[in-house]
């Protein structure tokens, strides 16, 4: 694991109109990390992800991804960076009019000039990687929530991204599915060296797979702690974080 930052966020301010959500925050995500974004509901975790993935512009500040300033990048450069990122949305966000195989093949067809056969092979491979072998011809409405998330992950992995963002991947999953998803994230991180940015409330995930983290605090409009989650649990910098990490034990 190298120490070079892939994502470098400086002086970032996120606001909806006059309502400032996060003010002048800064953090770095190193290559190969599983970076956890924690914080109470409504503190702006999803908004931060939206800004990091370029869905909404930041009010001010800079985000550099692999040395390229994302906020100031030209549309083409931005698109190039986006191809190196995969995103798994809360509900999987699969296109309902396409089968799972078509969902995964879509970015491959759009952004590569691979032959149909290779695309089919890659689609089967990605489905197999997330444990959905043989489900290619199913429609999203025909599979369960956990399977949808895994299929969403397969689509996020289609283009061999260097960074994958997750927004609360375990929300709405049973403990076993949630554990399987964690294992999968870890597998992909370790075998492909993919950098993972993960928004989650799931303490088990945070401690099992997180290697670095930030803790967002709505009252500070900023980051109240950073570091390896296990270290944070050992030496909580303040009471709020201790309570969050121990589920409110006094």
């Amino acid at each position: 694991m190298t120490q070079q930052p892939v994502i470098n966020v400086r002086n970032l301010t996120i606001a909806y109109g006059d309502f400032v959500l996060l003010k002048n925050i800064a953090f770095q995500v190193r290559k190969g990390d599983i970076f956890v974004i924690m914080g109470g509901s409504g503190c702006g975790k999803s908004s931060l992800l939206r800004v990091l993935t370029g869905l909404t512009p930041a009010a001010s500040g800079s985000i550099t991804i692999d040395g390229i300033n994302f906020a100031a990048a030209t549309p083409e450069n931005k698109e190039k960076i986006m191809h190196r990122c995969g995103i798994l949305y809360q509900s999987g966000a699969l296109f309902s009019s396409m089968t799972l195989a078509e969902n995964i093949a879509l970015p491959l067809r759009q952004y590569t000039n691979y032959s149909d056969r290779l695309i089919r092979e890659l689609t089967e491979l990605k489905l197999a990687l997330v444990g959905l072998r043989g489900f290619g011809e199913f429609y999203p409405s025909e599979i369960s929530g956990g399977m949808k998330k895994r299929a969403g992950l397969a689509r996020a992995l289609a283009l061999d991204p260097e960074i994958v963002y997750f927004d609360e991947p375990s929300a709405g999953l049973d403990p076993i599915s949630s554990r399987l998803l964690d294992d999968l994230i870890l597998d992909i991180n370790q075998s492909l060296g993919t950098t993972i940015v993960l928004v989650t409330h799931e303490l088990a995930s945070i401690f099992n797979i997180g290697t670095d983290s930030i803790f967002l605090d709505a009252s500070l409009k900023g980051i109240s702690a950073t570091g390896n989650p296990k270290e944070l649990l050992k030496n909580p910098p303040n009471d709020q974080i201790r309570q969050f990490l121990t589920r409110g034990d006094k």
């Binding site: 056969r117 290779l118 491979l125 075998s191």
Partner: protein, 370 residues
């Protein structure tokens, strides 16, 4: 990347060399798969000591080889495979927890007909049960025991009343215009263009007004009913209502049906009036009939029976449109795509049923001599 292979005493040696990025060489793959098909193959060895960088395309290749091999009861022996690559390969080859559900059996011709028949029967039964429950709900409403939220009713009423006035006026004015034009061409040959006034008045009030309003409202309100209720189905709002013990019919369907059934006859009145106005524009403006004369002939042609027949059509159309919209909304699937389908079906079936109903009503009135 370079892929070489060598078959030696029933053992296949495959060697990967160089950087394996975007490996998309179908000829090599085909040739390799052919060799894998060799009878009596006893082993496969894959050497990757000189493999440089790699991506998913290499993984896909190895995955393919491993699967072909396992179909022959073999498992390849990997040499010097990068650690992470072999871990991913293992992950991909892990057997599914759920076995494949291969129920894609072919049906015989008779079975297909049977299946179709059963499907039609099920659809009919579903439609009738929907009708029964909705009628029960209307019954409760008439007895005053339905739990309908008045706000919902007012919202629905707002949507299908004054908001539809503009489009209904415009379209029926144009229809009146067209009727007058088409009629005038024929009547002129007999020097009877004055009867354009009667033609438009009778045509609009007896049927055309109601039909135009019906088609407009099917596209406007029927579609919106199906889309709104269908989206509620997608968001599991309907499940929530049901589990809370609300009657979907009272809560969602009743306000919509009452609103549309009340407003369509009124809109029909408006359409009648605008159509006659459109006819007058042609009659007075182009055929040189004086306004007073046109008015006289129009009023002469109008009679209560035609008027009521038109309103009755409107009433029936209102019921049909709202039933179709609500039915396809409630029976919508669970994804974005099905909302689109539900909307289309609601509009198409509403128009078809309106035409069918018009046929029946005309026939019955003919027999009754109305």
């Amino acid at each position: 990347m370079q892929l070489t292979y060598n078959l030696n005493q029933k053992i296949l040696d495959i060697t990967l060399r160089g950087d394996g990025l975007h490996f998309d060489d179908n000829r090599t793959k085909d040739a390799l798969l052919l060799v894998l098909d060799t009878n009596g193959l006893t082993g496969i060895r894959i050497e990757a000591a000189e493999l440089g960088r790699w991506d998913s395309t290499i993984l896909a290749l190895l995955f393919d080889i491993a699967r072909s091999a396992s179909r022959r009861g073999l498992s390849p022996e990997y040499r010097n495979l990068p650690d992470n690559l072999s871990r991913l390969l293992k992950l991909a080859l892990t057997v599914n927890r759920k076995p494949d559900t291969g129920t894609d059996e072919k049906l015989s011709f008779l079975e297909k007909i049977g299946a179709k028949g059963i499907a039609v029967y099920a659809a009919l039964a579903k439609g009738l049960s929907f009708l029964r429950q909705t009628s029960a709900s209307v019954g409760r409403f008439l007895r005053g025991s339905a739990i309908m939220r008045h706000v919902d009713f007012l919202f629905a009423l707002e949507d299908c009343s004054y908001k539809a006035v503009g489009i209904v006026s415009l379209v029926s004015f144009m229809v009146g215009l067209i009727l007058a034009f088409v009629g005038a061409v024929q009547l002129k040959t007999f020097g009877a263009q004055i009867y354009v006034a009667s033609l438009v008045a009778i045509g609009m009030t007896r049927i055309m007004g109601a039909i135009m309003v019906g088609i407009i409202m099917a596209g406007r309100t029927g579609a919106s009913y199906a889309a709104t209720i269908g989206t509620m189905q997608v968001n599991e709002e309907i499940d929530a209502l049901k589990t809370m013990g609300f009657s979907i019919e009272d809560f969602l369907i009743l306000p919509r049906i009452t609103a549309l059934t009340l407003t369509i006859p009124l809109l029909t009145l408006l359409a009648d009036f605008m159509g006659i106005l459109g006819g007058a524009a042609v009659g007075v403006g182009m055929l040189g009939i004086s306004a007073a004369e046109y008015w006289h002939y129009s009023v002469d042609a109008l009679n209560m029976t035609n008027f009521l027949v038109g309103l009755f059509h409107g009433l029936v159309f209102g019921i049909i449109i709202s039933l179709c919209g609500c039915y396809y909304g409630v029976n919508c699937g669970r994804d974005a795509d099905s909302v689109g389908k539900a909307t289309t079906r609601a509009v198409v079936s509403a128009i078809v049923w309106m035409i069918v109903a018009t046929g029946f009503i005309t026939l019955i009135f003919e027999v009754l001599g109305i």
